[in-house]
């Protein structure tokens, strides 16, 4: 499984050229079991409808748009966070079964369960 990821991804359907594409990589954790990968992505400030998950051409993409920043009429005294969207792209060479991806969001943490494709599971071949 050659998962790698990047801040900006080229040649993707959703990223129009010429458009300023700003995103930052969220913190994440990967766990592996015999049958699945478990992906945890930290997306503080992202609501359920701000998340988009796509799996295409062996790449899993998670984007999270943060809810609008400050309430109207307020002024910033001190700022450390950013309203920039989150984007995580993980290539998996189709070792994940796209039909069996489950996602759950709770308190700004997204949990993804990625079932391994049959071809990616360990297999023992006997010699005749």
């Amino acid at each position: 499984m050659s998962l790698f990821n990047s801040l900006i991804h080229p040649a993707s359907g959703g990223c129009a050229t010429g458009q300023q594409h700003q995103a930052r990589r969220p913190r994440f954790e990967v766990e592996e079991t015999d049958t699945a990968y478990g992906l945890t992505v930290f997306l503080p400030g992202v609501a359920k409808d701000g998340i988009e998950i796509t799996d295409e051409s062996g790449e899993l993409r998670v984007t999270g748009k943060r809810s609008p920043g400050l309430p109207e009429g307020s002024s910033v005294l001190y700022r450390e966070t950013s309203d920039t969207s989150f984007e995580l792209v993980l290539a998996h060479d189709n070792s994940v079964d796209s039909g069996k991806i489950e996602a759950e969001l709770k308190d700004g943490v997204l949990h993804l369960s990625l079932a391994k494709a049959e071809s990616a599971k360990p297999r023992k071949i006997s010699v005749n």
Binding site: M1, S2, L3, F4, N5, S6, L7, I8, P10, A11, R27, F28, E29, V30, E31, E32, T40, F42, L43, P44, G45, V46, A47, S67, L70, P71, G73, S74, S75, V76, L77, Y78, R79, E80, T81, L90, A91, D93, K106, D107, G108, V109
Partner: protein
């Protein structure tokens, strides 16, 4: 994080790298490629590390607000205290580690205006963001005073 052995390094890694390397050059964008094991370990260390967390402070005419990024913390374990103009936030997150579950603690102190109505402080935790409302004391609010001139 376990080390996972690659049985087919050529088929699994070199080919896609070359492919993206080609696209990279074409796009002219300088990108950093991270492999699962490198990034996963870095990401794990980053999230597992407790300590501080980012905060914003903003205000309107009635209140000062402190907003903290604390994704995935246990609601019941969030503690907010104001003492002498210093707001103290404490939280913890349950995580998985090699040996089972472990708890990661976070804490931060933020200076806030001292003229706060301590008994009316409220906090909301939503989407991993803790927002604390610190209502200003009446005396501290700007007040318009009419002066009659004879």
């Amino acid at each position: 994080m376990r080390y996972i052995h690659f049985t087919q390094p050529i088929a699994r890694s070199v080919v896609p790298t070359a492919d993206f390397g080609g696209r990279l050059a074409a796009s002219g964008i300088d990108r950093q490629l991270d492999w699962l094991f490198g990034t996963a370990v870095a990401g794990f260390a980053g999230t597992a590390r407790g300590g501080s967390f980012p905060v914003d402070v903003y205000g309107d005419k009635d209140s000062t607000y402190v907003r903290a990024e604390l994704p995935g913390v246990t609601r019941d374990a969030i503690s907010v205290e104001v003492v002498d103009g210093s707001l103290s936030i404490q939280a913890s997150r349950k995580g998985k580690s090699a040996g089972g579950e472990d708890t990661v603690s976070f804490s931060r102190e933020v200076s806030v205006p001292s003229e706060v109505q301590s008994d009316k402080i409220s906090a909301v935790y939503e989407n991993g963001i803790l927002t604390i409302t610190l209502p200003r004391a009446e005396e501290a609010k700007p007040r318009k005073i009419n002066v009659s001139v004879n």
